[in-house]
């Protein structure tokens, strides 16, 4: 348990240090995630050392964003005022992402296969 926490929070802390040193606008948690992937890939960290805790965190991820969602009660006025731009932009853009991602993958997957 302690080792699992050390690895996960260690990666997160290193991410914080990297953000602090370089001043980049990438979240420390993303850097931590990439560090963990790298450590696993280099076999510096064994998969079974983190599997328990990472499984717990990932399967409950949805629950962790309830409190920030509740903060929405502070912005009900803003959402009401800009409801149309928010809804239209979100729906149209989401449909575009679905289509563009799917098409691109389908086209290039086909090309890759015929090249082989």
């Amino acid at each position: 348990m302690i080792r699992q926490c050390l690895i996960i929070f260690g990666c997160l802390a290193l991410g914080e240090v990297i953000v602090w040193l370089t001043g980049i606008t990438i979240p420390s948690s993303i850097i931590g995630m990439l560090l963990l992937t790298l450590l696993l890939h280099l076999k510096a960290v064994k998969l079974e050392w983190v599997q328990g805790m990472s499984g717990f965190l990932i399967s409950n991820m949805g629950f962790f964003f309830v409190p920030p969602g509740v903060a929405l009660m502070l912005y009900l006025d803003l959402i009401q005022a800009e409801l149309m731009p928010i809804v239209v932009a979100t729906v149209v853009s989401t449909v575009l992402v679905l289509i563009v991602t799917g098409w691109t993958h389908q086209i290039f997957k086909h090309h890759g296969n015929s090249a082989e």
């Binding site: 420390s28 948690s29 920030p68 009660m73 993958h105």
Partner: protein, 230 residues
């Protein structure tokens, strides 16, 4: 109602409502009754009814929210487990992720701007396709309103889970790999859970899309917004 302001009671209440919402979704089988969304709505109603302000609730909620960052780090495990597959299909996966990420950010910003949304709202909308913890961090780093992002992200996820596969079929995207990848790219964890129901292949590719678009958006959103003059 003084006693309700106790941290431990508010925490227990949050766990209780989420548990109830999840059971209710299992019982009805309706994907639209997403337990995250239901819990947020019930809690807001309850707080407004009892007159407890957000700052008081956040003293308890902070203990839960704290685990978001470690949870993102934990995504490194499935990313590592999928590395071999990513490398085998590197070009199609990378290009489709890049295209999806770019179109997702640029289109939402352009439409919102065109319809007269404020700068804060536009920033908060920009990371809408990626999983909430990442989206909120991106939004915060850029100066948006993270909780507005959280609410939009959950709504996008619900939209993708309910209509995603229909949209893909209408547009002749029929290959299971492409379908899974698109669902994960466009509608993150909520869409991924729907893809998992459809089958393991759909689910694996959806989680790939969820992770890769999360990383790409975190890396590219600041640059794209700067380039677009936001």
């Amino acid at each position: 109602m003084e006693i309700l302001q106790n941290n431990l009671i508010l925490l227990a209440l949050t766990f209780g409502i989420f548990y109830g919402a999840r059971q209710f979704q299992k019982w009805t089988g309706w994907i639209i009754l997403n337990p995250i969304l239901v819990t947020i709505i019930v809690l807001i109603g309850l707080l407004q009814l009892t007159g407890i302000d957000y700052a008081t609730y956040q003293q308890a909620g902070g203990y839960i929210e704290f685990w978001l960052k470690p949870a993102i780090v934990a995504l490194g495990v499935p990313l590592y487990q999928n590395l071999a597959q990513i490398r085998r299909q590197f070009l199609p996966i990378f290009l489709s992720q890049l295209a999806g990420c770019l179109i997702g950010i640029i289109s939402v910003v352009l439409i919102a701007q065109w319809m007269g949304a404020s700068r804060e709202t536009i920033i908060s909308l920009s990371p809408k396709s990626v999983t909430t913890p990442i989206a909120m961090e991106v939004c915060q780093a850029l100066g948006g309103i993270p909780s507005l992002t959280a609410a939009i992200v959950v709504s996008v996820g619900l939209f993708g889970a309910v209509f995603g596969f229909k949209v893909l079929e209408v547009w002749h995207i029929k290959n299971p790999y492409s379908q899974g990848l698109s669902i994960g790219t466009a509608s993150h964890a909520v869409g991924t859970s729907r893809a998992m129901e459809k089958g393991a292949t759909y689910g694996a590719y959806a989680s790939l899309g969820l992770i890769l678009n999360g990383v790409l958006t975190a890396l590219l959103a600041p640059l794209i917004l700067k380039f677009m003059g936001i």
